[in-house]
Symmetry: C2
Subunit: 401 residues, 2 copies
């Protein structure tokens, strides 16, 4: 069997690496951003458009697809790839984050850009026990139960290329004691996930464990060692990563430091992180894949990604200052919105008129921006120029790809 992660280049000045992640439905060129197809669709965008933007993989969500249309229906329809017409690799989040989001209102969500949606909040946790989590569906109000085994079963039915362990995503505001107990439970749940995989796992699906431990160095390093040393094929870094970016980078650094030692060849996914500077730093810290709602969610709210570090790489097209602006979102941008010649004035108007096309165009722009950034970073690692490339991005350079 070919290696899961075929590392091709290493940056001498950081933990960054390029690789080809070989999955059942194709290869992912890493480091890579993974757009969200939470409910089985990248909101407003067709799969062939996602691929044309340069993406190799998308992320589906176990929790949402479990509630509707249901994993049995997706399986009956030939699996998630066939159902949503995406022929490339799919990673599925385990549902842990969404289930626990119904109970936690978190600072971490905000910093991670993973704030629960209105739909998530409408549900409610009924009980968290060793066996699993009982909650109320935001779809029909019915009572549902999700255990590690449920999550594995759902992900197997969806047929994703990468399944994630069912974990408790510990929020930022809980104390060390809660975090420690929660992390230990996540480790016990990992064993149950692995046992399910041993008994029922699909040959065409790989399985990633999730590192928890919050922002406590010993817990985070300890959790990372535990999950990296398990039989899981890869590791995702989840849970609370801190109240601010500097702390998040430190926490991720602890995790990848342990991964370098314990399991250097296993692929590493960073959950829910995707702002421009975070992607650059994540690559330097040795992350292979990232997912985040940010590019698509910002796009739906009229926020376009632009090379402007002082404004968090964002411009808000709904602001009145763009009413007369004839320029595109970005000059020399090859995305469908900019190359299509749509002006900021027109996009501003369309957002005001609540026209769907506005959401779609800015989402396309944002996804194009992030895809090109990741291609730049891959090229820089391959060329041994990551330090210069990262500095240029931080100074406000446009993607070159």
């Amino acid at each position: 069997m070919a290696e899961l992660l075929d590392v091709q280049h290493r940056d001498p000045g950081s933990r960054a690496r390029t690789a080809v992640l070989r999955l059942a439905h194709g290869e992912v060129r890493t480091p890579a951003f993974v757009p969200l197809a939470t409910k089985g669709v990248v909101k407003g965008i067709e799969p062939h458009e996602v691929a044309a933007l340069g993406y190799d993989m998308v992320l589906g969500n176990t929790f949402h697809l479990f509630l509707t249309p249901g994993h049995e229906l997706v399986a009956e329809q030939g699996g998630l790839h066939e159902f949503m017409r995406w022929s490339g690799p799919i990673i599925t989040d385990s549902g842990g984050f969404q289930v626990f989001s119904m109970g936690h209102g978190t600072v971490a969500d905000e910093i991670k850009g993973r704030a629960p949606t209105g739909a998530d909040r409408a549900g409610a946790i009924l009980s968290i026990e060793e066996e699993g989590v009982r909650f109320r569906s935001y779809i029909d109000g019915g009572e549902r139960f999700m255990a590690p085994e449920t999550s594995m079963e759902v992900q197997a039915a969806l047929g994703s290329d990468v399944a994630l362990a069912f974990d408790e995503c510990t929020p930022f505001h809980v104390d060390r004691d809660y975090t420690e107990r929660s992390t230990e439970r996540t480790h016990r749940w990992l064993e149950r996930c692995l046992a399910w995989q041993d008994a029922h796992g699909r040959a065409d699906q790989v399985f990633y464990a999730i590192s928890q431990g919050g922002v406590h160095e010993d817990l985070r390093r300890g959790s990372t060692r535990v999950v990296a040393g398990s039989r899981a094929h890869g590791v995702a870094i989840g849970g609370s990563l801190g109240a601010e970016k500097a702390q998040m980078y430190e926490v991720v650094g602890w995790a990848t430091d342990e991964l370098e030692r314990v399991a250097p060849g296993k692929p590493r996914h960073l959950l829910g992180i995707g702002e421009i500077d975070d992607l650059v730093r994540g690559v330097e810290l040795g992350i292979d894949t990232f997912d985040c709602a940010m590019p698509t969610r910002l796009g739906r709210h009229g926020m376009a990604i632009v090379p402007d570090p002082e404004r968090r790489w964002r411009v808000d097209l709904t602001k009145g200052r763009w009413k007369h602006a004839r320029e595109p979102i970005m000059d020399d941008c090859p995305c469908p919105a900019c190359a299509g010649g749509y002006s900021r004035a027109y996009l501003h108007y369309l957002f005001g008129a609540r026209e769907l096309t506005a959401l779609r165009l800015v989402t396309l722009h944002n996804l194009s921006y992030v895809a090109r950034l990741m291609a730049d970073l891959r090229a820089a690692v391959a060329a041994g120029t990551l330090a210069e490339a990262a500095a240029a991005v931080r100074a406000g350079a446009s993607p070159r790809a």
Copy 2:
């Protein structure tokens, strides 16, 4: 100057004809359906996609664009073509229908598929006088005034290829006396539109008068003779066309009968009609161009056009019966939704999940269906086989183009 309407084929068994309508921004192959870009965008669809489906012209709306973003802004941005990035011909409705829709709740709207939208209804007519109509904006609640000259000025600023006369769209439920007086006022308003065109008209814009007269044969024939005999370059058939399809066909027949006599070479547009059987009959009655919200509005509500005359050529994908349906909307349909392999089950699920992609895919299918139908009808007229083609459509044949 080349002829505006270059008639190429005539059907020996009906008034149907094929032609090339030569406008400032290009040619329209007729008979043609004209998709609505009411607010300067075909909802959810980009202009290059509209063109790729086979459409030559779109319709913008004077009333909506007058209120937001305003014709001055559109003019400042280089005109509607540049603003919305549609380089082909544009026809603009005059705003008469929308202004009067705020006052009338009509049976005619229903039969014509031109029911006022929620936005239209939120406004209110303050007064209708000989000078013009005063109303309250649904955007900002402010008082606005629209007269024939206003409509002409707005349409000139938008820079459409075809401007329509400002008329009162008489509803079905008013009496003959009201219809007669309204039609006479529409004729006086036509003179004012023509006077404005004489003084300020753009060389790159042609002007269509609108036939009113409701469902009264003498009024409808009389109005058609008046407007067809005017200096207007073309004629649109508007107002109430009846409470049911048979009556609508009769009324349109009176109008095109008069047009054949008075102005056989002028292009004819039928306002707000676009169901499948109506398009076939309209072509037989000698209509050159049609506009209607139907294909796009149905699409946004989950209704896909299919070759099923017994169900008004519609299937409602939001119904539970499609939950497990693996087939596409239509077999052998080349539209992006069907050729893309999306199943009815997936579209059903996406509508339930309120995902934008659902609206977009079914809109694309519906527009593709209608474009191909019109191409079939043009080919049939050219080949002298319209009677057979029309019978096949009525019997449930799929478009062949």
